[in-house]
């Protein structure tokens, strides 16, 4: 990775430009913002006559993996926030034939500028909340520490420039953004080895993350036929096709199964960067 020095410098320049453009107005509008980060923020101007909604579920066949306990015995402060069952991992949640924490996004489309609202990433009782989140290129990610102890946030993308920052006490927030599309960016805390999150960075607002019931919604999608891609950290990626009609709700579901555990989980697939009329355009290599 370190050998790609020049590339990283160019990314850095892009990051600087991005910060200069987007840094000014964070904290502004979009009150309906998605604290969970699970849904795409509404695009600024949407003509309801031309858009529809994608709604779907992530199905899960086979035996649901048992929730895993986290050993927080050496971290009394972390463990204190949990009930009698003790701390459980929120990484892989599969129950009742549904799979949560699947990142779904359309491919081959590009959207408008990043919304002004921030996406929240919280650290609560030594877990990331949410565990999987989506964000638009250049959109602000507001990272908050709700625990009164040190967390560091170590993002290790392959295409973007990574960051490794810390939040030593409760109430500290930091703002970060990614200038390039990348699915997914892994995030970890080195102080608490179990803490992991994944951020899907795409250059359009058409993405969603499945909730505990396995459902996701992508609103305000212009009518048309799209390829959608789903990503899960343990069960891999898959794609499907969906046609959206104006004013309608299209359904899209993905079928995961327990025997897909250990499938190839793509992280930060190579991107094609080109200079288009709207500045830098980024496409996943596979779509080009």
């Amino acid at each position: 990775m370190r050998s790609e020095f020049l590339k990283k410098v160019s990314v850095l320049v892009a990051a600087g430009a991005m910060a200069a453009c987007g840094g000014g107005d964070s904290g502004g509008g979009d009150p309906g913002g998605d604290a969970g980060g699970g849904e795409a923020p509404a695009a600024a101007q949407v003509d309801p006559a031309t858009v529809g909604t994608i709604s779907g579920t992530i199905n899960f066949a086979g035996d649901s993996p048992a929730p895993t306990a986290i050993d927080m015995s050496a971290e009394a402060d972390c463990a204190a926030g949990y009930g009698p069952d003790g701390p459980m991992s929120n990484n892989v949640i599969a129950a009742n034939g549904r799979l949560a924490n699947v990142f779904v996004h359309l491919t081959g489309v590009s959207g408008g500028p990043a919304p002004s609202g921030s996406v929240q990433l919280d650290q609560e009782n030594c877990r990331y909340m949410p565990h999987v989140l989506g964000v638009q290129v250049g959109q602000n990610i507001e990272i908050t520490n709700s625990d009164d102890l040190l967390h560091n946030i170590n993002a290790s993308p392959t295409e973007n420039r990574g960051f490794n920052i810390s939040q030593p006490r409760a109430g500290i927030t930091s703002n970060q953004s990614f200038p390039l599309a990348e699915v997914m960016v892994p995030v970890r805390c080195d102080v608490h080895g179990w803490m992991q999150a994944y951020i899907g960075v795409v250059d359009h607002p058409y993405f969603g993350v499945s909730g505990p019931d396995g459902s996701f919604t992508i609103p305000n999608v212009p009518a048309g036929t799209y390829t959608a891609e789903a990503w899960h950290e343990a069960y891999g990626a898959m794609s499907g096709s969906v046609t959206v009609t104006a004013g309608g709700t299209a359904t899209l579901s993905f079928d995961y199964s327990s025997d897909m555990a250990g499938a190839h989980v793509p992280l930060g697939e190579p991107l094609v960067i080109r200079h288009g009329e709207h500045g830098i355009e980024v496409h996943r290599g596979a779509q080009d």
Binding site: R2, S3, F5, G16, S156, G162, N164, G171, T173, S174
Partner: protein, 587 residues
């Protein structure tokens, strides 16, 4: 090299007596005195910056649960929600050390005083290679700018400690710092080059350009110290440059010299760094010892006690300085057998330091002590350096080092040597040679207040650190409140921080005195201290070319209170022995 070759003969030096533009005279001057003053302003600026970083650090250590006052003006990558971030603290630790060592103390000792004093004290009209000399200053300027800029790039300034231990320093993914580290390594290469060019110049000048009669053992101890220092720099700096370049490659182009995942060796970095680093420690103290000898002799109105012993002590420190570096690495995983030999050599190197201390006391013994500010600082140096030297014995003993290594005991030790030692001597040197540099005296009253405040606050800051270290407080930690064994010393940490504020504030008293005296100070005579060495036998400040006529030397350097001299208590090195003929001086 072009410069060396292009230098031609000394003709060039003489040609520069012609009138010059402002730019040629004050910016791109080749006059060693102007270059020294440029270095002085430069280093005072970085001394102030380095001190400020320390103050921010101390605030965090003393009150880790408080927000940093005024922290709001700093970017979110340094101070978030009012709290200093650990990565910024690490940058402060790193850059405080780096700036103080490489941009403040070392260039102040060598860049300022080797430049200013070597030609004047040996009776030369300038350096051997004046243009190389100018280059060595102008290489420091981009180095300083890179250093300052590194705080404001993405990821912040270097944060792996001034020792830059690999792999942390070579792995941006682990430290969070990429550009800052690269900037600092580039600055380090520039500093290395500047230092090497300087050393070539100083050594050549001392070897080949001494005035007639200035034999080796008639050289003032300052020149001896600066000469040996230049040799240390010449031989140690390139190793750091080589290692720094390898580290830079590890970080940027993907080599693995110091990265174990590619077969490299983290300990190799430490060996190379400390092979440079320990001679560097002596680069930082030998000149200070030279100034002190000089000032104490003049202040006591006595020849330096044991001049030859002093010279041989300097030389043996320099030799031993190359074989003790392993004592920084006793707990590093180095072959324990090496630990044993490094212990012995380290304890041996304490002997010449002891010799020097006793000789300074011997110089004061039965003297006629004039306590002007410079003398106060010089005596303060001896008192403080003694503490620093003695606390070093704890570390030299390998078993004790197991416990105190990487604790505040080490921090206390290094500051007793570098602040109580080098910086005290430097303050003394500034007060002592200021009249020669600027033709005006510094204010003595303010100077004395500055001395006493510095002495008191300095000891309040650094003496308790021995205690903090004994209690087991690790170096470079951002918040000690999470450790049961450190609960008892938090009030000490707060005391240290208060004293550090006082220490920093008293620095401004000095800065005021310095700049005020430059303009408004009392006019200085050629020889305000009635001193014997050559620089005092030419006007203050000296003219371009230094001498109306080349001085001829007849005595050793510190002929004070000679019994056969009736009307005064000093005999300049170039005074004809008409009245008396002290037998060659020096014996």
């Amino acid at each position: 090299m072009a410069t060396i070759v292009a230098e031609g003969t000394g003709q060039a030096i003489l040609e520069e007596h012609h009138p010059q533009t402002f730019l040629r005279k004050y910016m791109f001057s080749t006059d060693h005195k102007i270059i020294a003053i440029q270095f002085l302003i430069y280093t005072l600026f970085f001394l102030m910056i380095g001190g400020f970083l320390a103050i921010m650090m101390r605030y965090q250590i003393a009150w880790p649960d408080q927000t940093l006052p005024g922290g709001g003006i700093l970017p979110e990558s340094m101070v978030a929600s009012g709290y200093m971030l650990p990565e910024f603290y690490n940058s402060l630790v790193t850059m405080h050390g780096s700036i103080m060592v490489f941009l403040a103390i070392m260039p102040m000792l060598v860049g300022v005083y080797a430049n200013y004093l070597i030609p004047l004290q040996i009776g030369a009209d300038d350096m051997a290679f004046p243009r190389l000399n100018m280059m060595s200053f102008w290489l420091m300027v981009p180095a300083g700018l890179l250093t300052l800029a590194s705080f404001f790039v993405v990821g912040g300034a270097a944060s792996s400690g001034w020792t830059l231990y690999a792999p942390l320093s070579a792995r941006p993914d682990l430290s969070g710092v990429e550009l800052g580290q690269i900037y600092w390594l580039l600055a380090l290469v520039l500093i290395g080059l500047s230092s090497i060019l300087g050393s070539v110049n100083y050594i050549t000048t001392v070897i080949n350009m001494r005035a007639p009669g200035m034999t080796w053992f008639r050289m003032p101890l300052t020149v001896w110290a600066l000469f040996i220092t230049a040799i240390l720099g010449l031989l140690a700096m390139p190793v750091l440059s080589a290692a720094g370049i390898m580290l830079l490659f590890d970080q940027t182009i993907g080599t693995t010299f110091f990265l174990p995942e590619g077969g490299g060796q983290p300990l190799l970095w430490q060996h190379l760094f400390w092979f440079f680093g320990h001679p560097e420690v002596y680069i930082l103290i030998l000149p200070a010892m030279g100034f002190t000898s000089e000032i104490i002799a003049a202040g006591s109105r006595k020849p330096v006690f044991g001049y030859h012993a002093m010279v041989w002590a300097i030389i043996s420190i320099a030799f031993l300085g190359f074989v003790v570096w392993g004592h920084h690495m006793f707990q590093s995983g180095m072959n324990p057998m090496l630990g044993l030999s490094f212990t012995i050599s380290t304890l041996l190197i304490a002997v010449p330091s002891a010799i020097k201390t006793f000789n300074w006391m011997g110089t004061m013994w039965r003297g006629n002590l004039h306590f002007h500010t410079a003398m106060l600082f010089a005596v303060g140096f001896v008192a403080m350096f003694a503490i620093g030297g003695l606390s070093g014995i704890f570390m030299a003993s390998t078993p004790v080092d197991i416990y105190i290594h990487d604790t505040y005991f080490i921090v206390a030790h290094i500051h007793y040597v570098l602040f109580g030692g080098s910086l005290f001597a430097l303050f003394g040197a500034i007060y002592y040679w200021f009249p020669k540099m600027f033709g005006r005296m510094m204010n003595e009253k303010l100077g004395k207040v500055h001395f006493w405040l510095t002495l008191i606050f300095f000891n309040l800051v650094f003496f308790p650190m021995h205690g903090v270290g004994m209690a087991g407080m690790m170096r470079r930690i951002y918040d000690s409140s999470g450790y049961a064994h450190l609960q008892g010393i938090q009030d000490t940490n707060a005391l240290i921080t208060f004293a550090a504020l006082g220490l920093y504030a008293s620095g401004f008293l000095f800065a005021f005195n310095f700049f005020w005296s430059m303009k408004k100070g009392k006019k200085a005579e050629a020889n305000p201290w009635n001193a014997t060495t050559l620089e005092w036998q030419t006007p203050s400040p000296p003219m371009h070319g230094n001498w109306a006529e080349t001085p001829v030397v007849y005595h050793g350097p510190h002929e004070f209170s000679h019994p056969d001299v009736e009307d005064k208590d000093w005999l300049a090195q170039n005074e004809r022995p008409d009245v008396v003929s002290p037998a060659g001086g020096g014996h």
